[in-house]
């Protein structure tokens, strides 16, 4: 029941936040903060939970539309719990970052924010594929509104692009879901959308390939992976900061989660055969987007491209499909969730202060805003993959595991470590080092981080340090879940090799 409660709290909190605006326009943010904090506290009870013989630490199952084999099936294992915690944590951060920034129609804003989070929580726990798709849509539409209403100068274009990319790829996935349920009908005489039922469906190699591709397109668009990535830079540069935090920190991770939970386990052989292609796309994402990032002048666009580059390590790790690589992918998801969110908050903070995202109008800020600069340096070197911080653990494990699956693509991807240094240090140079550049008419607005902001950043820094110095807390939680899925998918590596022939 706890899982239902988690999602219900978010939905209800969203409604309450909207309504509370009519009492006082400053009330919604308080309601929203209480909601996410309560949700996070509820989640902590999952940490001690023990599912016994079941792979799930918590689950709930009931009929929904029995005629079509659709059930209300929520369940969480260690992997889900980690991502739920990440969602709630970044939810708190997002509310915090919106605290002073969102002043118009704040009730509706927090309604959308919390409903997006509710959708994400649903996605991370739904194990009925129809229900999963329902939540997939729930998180899309409020996010669309957040960009379209509270975004920046080019918000309509960006919001529409985000909507079309996600919607089209989502529909392709829906077709694959329905087809899979239909094949369950052909084999067992009943339609089912239940994940555990569908794992047992046996498919022709040809059909499995097309269905797997449907899932892959749905998830790879969200991730995103080259060549389905081009909605992300626009969405990020136009979204309000809180939107970027959720988008980069959490929404992208639903794509990766979908690959781990559904795309590979449902179609292990097809995925194994497809692995070289997926890993190639990952390597291209890593290098290509690092290169494009380097050329950007818009700070948020740059961070958006680096996000795609870093998510390439996640794809690489997932399609290597061994424990090391998967743990690396999961750690990268968590660490990148924090570091990218923090970087977007810094870029958003700068934009709020000096009304520009253009780095050509910045420079030498260290002398003016030393605290902000030091914080930015921290998250930049985290993103570069400095050992001792979470991102290193993720990328190192992903590469270490991927090396055992595909040497060439791993070596190519590892070159991304060099490019990451090139663009990251270039950002530090252009914004914080060098001679002070006036930042135009708004230079007076350039103030250092406030106490409230420092609080959020400190929390994220501690999180990254924890992940980097003692990742065992996280690895231990996801290990049983990942081992379970590995055991269910047979000899992936052998199938990959067979697929290559």
């Amino acid at each position: 029941m706890i899982l239902v409660l988690l999602i219900a709290v978010m939905f209800l909190g969203g409604l309450l936040a909207w309504l509370s605006e009519f009492l006082d326009p400053r009330l919604p943010r308080v309601v929203a903060l209480i909601t996410v904090v309560v949700d996070m506290l509820l989640m902590l009870t999952l940490l001690g939970a023990d599912g016994g013989a079941s792979p799930w630490v918590a689950s709930v199952q009931g009929d929904w539309i029995p005629r079509f084999g659709i059930s209300f099936f929520l369940a969480a294992d260690g992997l889900s719990v980690l991502l739920l915690l990440l969602t709630a944590f970044l939810g708190i951060i997002a509310v915090g970052s919106a605290w002073g920034e969102i002043t118009e129609r704040s009730g509706f804003f927090y309604f959308n924010l919390l409903w997006t989070l509710a959708g994400v929580l649903g996605v991370f726990t739904a194990l009925d594929l129809f229900l999963f798709f329902f939540f997939w849509e729930v998180m899309l539409i409020p996010m669309y509104l957040i960009i379209a209403i509270w975004g920046h100068e080019n918000k309509n274009y960006a919001a529409m692009k985000f909507f079309i990319f996600t919607q089209v790829s989502g529909l392709i996935m829906l077709v694959a879901i329905v087809a899979l349920a239909y094949f369950h009908y052909l084999q067992f005489g009943a339609i089912s959308f239940n994940y555990e039922d569908l794992l047992g469906v046996e498919l022709d190699a040809g059909i499995a390939f097309w269905l797997m591709l449907g899932f892959f397109i749905g998830f790879a668009t969200k991730l995103p992976s080259v060549p389905l990535h081009s909605w992300l830079p626009d969405a990020h540069s136009q979204a309000p900061t809180a939107g970027s935090v959720i988008l980069a920190g959490v929404l992208l991770k639903t794509g990766a989660y979908g690959l781990i939970r559904f795309a590979v386990p449902l179609f292990p052989d097809a995925s194994a055969a497809f692995a070289p292609v997926a890993m190639t796309l990952a390597a291209i994402s890593i290098l290509y987007c690092a290169k494009v990032a380097f050329a950007q002048d818009d700070l948020k666009r740059l961070i958006a491209y680096t996000s795609i580059s870093h998510m390439g390590f996640v794809t690489l790790g997932i399609y290597a499909w061994n424990e090391l690589a998967l743990q690396g992918a999961v750690m990268t998801m968590l660490a990148h969730g924090l570091s990218a969110a923090a970087l977007f908050m810094l870029a958003g903070g700068l934009q709020h202060r000096i009304h520009t995202r253009k780095m050509s109008e910045m420079g030498g800020f260290w002398g003016q805003v030393p605290r902000m600069s030091a914080v930015a340096l921290f998250f930049t070197i985290a993103a570069v993959g400095m050992p001792g911080l979470g991102n290193f653990i993720g990328e190192f494990l992903a590469l270490l595991g991927a090396f055992q699956a595909n040497v060439t693509l791993t070596v190519v991807s590892a070159l991304g470590l060099i490019f990451a240094a090139v663009y990251s240090l270039w950002v530090i140079q252009r914004v914080f080092h060098g001679e002070f550049r006036g930042a135009g008419e708004h230079a007076a607005g350039l103030t250092d981080l406030s106490r409230r902001e420092m609080l959020y950043f400190a929390a994220m820094m501690l999180g990254l340090l924890w992940m980097g110095m003692y990742p065992q807390s996280f690895l231990a939680l996801s290990a049983p879940a990942l081992q379970n899925m590995l055991a269910g998918s047979g000899d992936f590596l052998a199938a990959t090799v067979a697929g290559l022939r």
């Binding site: 290169k291 030498g364 030091a374 494990l397 240094a421 003692y470 290990a479």
Partner: protein, 613 residues
């Protein structure tokens, strides 16, 4: 007790960062230098305990860093003779440099930031040399690289400093990535990254000269040449002199740049399994030491001369590693740390006293005004040039003798090393004669700025540079367990050559720059000589080469594809849809006969298709 060593400076770093410059300078100095001093005390105690225990190694596990399957690297410290030498150098020389810096940096507004980075560096460097597994070593390895970046770009308002810092980080990262791939390969093949375990496993599983050890040794070598500024990744070090001078002494002379030497020595068994790579190490060392030596001869900037000299001396260490003289290389690492730190700190005193003048030809006759710096330079240069019975003499001697004893190319390696020593004598004393002798050229009245905090470390380092050759380092149990220490048997002629050659170099230097009996201008008159000078001065054109081959194409690619052509493809689809839409809109004319006509045409088309198929 081992854990205290890196923890103390790490704590210093934390305190300085969290107080964010709000502490008074005196407190910063006490924390910054004191933490490293305490760390040195701990290291000294550990050394005494270790040497008395008779153990080969002491291991301390702090916690398991991560455990995934059979991959379980720990935060585990490993102390043996090799790491013992390293920690004593790092904390000992490091403390002296910290002490010196408390005086040197006193007028800098970012005093606290400086010491926070310095402390972080020492902590990372200690982890590097104490790590019992390659992942933890990599943590230290990247950590020192980060601090190097931060400290080279310490005066961040000058864009060229930022450029030098980024260059250092990126160039070394190329090597680091090679090393990381080496780690992946080692783990995939041997199933562990614990250094001792993997060395044992490698010896058991791999045949000498087979592909796997060759490839892994090459990949690790990539990391080593990056960090230690050897060919072909040496280009970052001369530019790294943009940082404050104590940084050059600590990071870019005494400790971090020798990490590559440490790495190879630490994994020497892998290199012994790959004799071709080991020989490559020797040749890289030789070529680097000659190239850098020639370049040092042409530089004007006092710090760049020392930087090239560092590259050259690390070349000797690589030469030693390549011929299997592991302990001689580590010995040279130690003596070099003494005399090069001395030279850099003395150069700092000169630069500070001359109001940040770097050009040696704008100095001159400074031996009376700057007596401590003069004495330091004299002793440091004697050790650098391997003057008999100074510390550098013993260590360089051992390396060259080991090269000579090697079969095959050993003679050539030896000869190259001796030629290098000749040039070392010339360029080191060129510096001494030009700066401290002749007539004074600076216009302002210069006084030596050296309180006891700056002079004290200089005197101690002078002592070490003179007498450091008599220290014996306890590394035999690491490199040759169970073997008797080898004796070199060489003829008096060889010894005579090796003693005489640097002296001839010094003498030649005197004739050119001291007495001016010989004229540099005459030597430089020919166009060939000038061309050669330009070529050497530019560091053999390596920067220009990399600019053409790597940087320019990358910038070009970045520029032409700023807007991401993938996005342009989607924009193309949108355009196409719009155009199609416009086309169809136009067909809606509202005229009945057009509709009737198209209906009929469609019907005809369908019927025809039906008939045909």
């Amino acid at each position: 007790m081992l854990w205290l060593m890196p923890t103390l400076p790490a704590l210093g770093f934390l305190i300085l960062v969290l107080t964010a410059g709000s502490l008074p300078k005196r407190a910063v100095a006490v924390i910054g230098a004191g933490s490293v001093g305490l760390s040195f005390l701990v290291a000294a105690l550990a050394a005494v305990a270790f040497l008395n225990s008779g153990e080969d190694a002491v291991i301390q596990t702090l916690w398991t860093w991560m455990a995934v399957g059979n991959f379980t690297p720990g935060f585990t410290l490993y102390l043996d003779g090799l790491s013992l030498v390293m920690i004593l150098i790092i904390t000992g020389v490091g403390f002296l440099i910290h002490l010196y810096s408390t005086g040197f940096m006193i007028d800098d507004p970012s005093y606290s930031r400086f010491f926070s980075y310095m402390n972080l560096f020492v902590a990372a460097m200690l982890i590097l040399v104490l790590a019992d597994n390659l992942v933890l070593l990599y943590l230290g390895w990247e950590g020192v690289g980060l601090c190097s970046y931060l400290l080279i770009g310490f005066w961040y308002d000058k864009p060229e400093n930022g450029y030098a810092a980024r260059k250092a980080f990126v160039v070394t990262r190329v090597g680091d990535t090679s090393m990381a791939i080496g780690l992946f390969l080692l783990f995939a093949q041997l199933g562990t990254l614990n250094i001792q375990d993997l060395l044992v496993a490698a010896e058991m599983q791999w045949a000498v000269g087979s592909t796997l050890p060759v490839v892994t040794a090459l990949l690790l070598l990539g990391g080593a040449v990056g960090k230690s500024a050897q060919l072909p990744l040496q280009t970052w070090l001369p530019d790294a002199m943009a940082g404050p001078t104590p940084i050059s002494a600590l990071i870019h002379a005494a400790t971090m740049v020798t990490a590559g030497v440490y790495l190879i020595a630490r994994t020497h068994i892998l290199f012994e399994l790959a004799p071709s790579v080991q020989l490559l190490v020797a040749w890289i060392g030789l070529i680097t030491l000659l190239m850098a030596g020639f370049t040092a001869l042409t530089q004007h900037d006092i710090k760049r001369i020392l930087a090239y000299s560092t590259i050259s001396q690390i070349g000797y260490m690589f030469l030693g590693l390549g011929v299997g003289a592991w302990s001689a290389s580590i010995f040279h690492l130690m003596t070099h740390a003494f005399f090069k730190a001395l030279l850099f700190l003395a150069a700092g005193t000169v630069i500070l006293s001359l109001h940040h003048e770097h050009d040696i030809f704008k100095m001159g006759g400074k031996r009376k005004q700057l007596p401590v710096a003069f004495l330091s330079f004299l002793i440091g240069s004697l050790a650098l040039a391997a003057f008999p019975f100074t510390s550098g003499f013993f260590s360089k001697d051992e390396i060259l003798l080991a090269a000579l004893e090697m079969e095959g190319p050993g003679v050539w390696l030896w000869l190259g090393g001796v030629i290098g020593a000749f040039f070392t004598g010339i360029y080191s004393f060129r510096l001494v004669f030009v700066v401290f002798f002749g007539e004074s050229k600076a216009h302002h009245d210069d006084k030596e700025q050296a309180g006891w905090v700056m002079a004290g470390p200089l005197y101690l380092l002078m002592l070490l540079s003179l007498l450091g050759g008599f220290i014996s380092i306890p590394v035999d149990s690491v490199f040759s367990p169970g073997e008797a220490p080898e004796e070199h048997h060489v003829s008096a002629l060889i010894h005579g050559i090796m003693i005489a050659v640097p002296l001839i170099g010094i003498g030649l230097s005197y004739l050119f720059y001291g007495s001016k009996t010989l004229s540099v201008e005459k030597l430089m008159a020919g166009s060939f000589a000038q061309g050669l000078h330009r070529f050497w001065f530019s560091g053999w054109g390596m920067d220009a080469l990399y600019r053409t081959v790597f940087i320019t194409p990358f910038l070009w690619l970045a520029r032409i594809n700023r807007n991401d052509f993938v996005d342009a493809c989607y924009a193309g689809i949108v355009q196409l849809t719009r155009a199609g839409n416009a086309l169809i809109v136009r067909s809606q004319t509202g005229m009945l006969r057009w509709y009737a006509l198209s209906l009929a045409a469609g019907l005809v088309l369908l019927v025809t298709l039906g008939v045909l198929l």
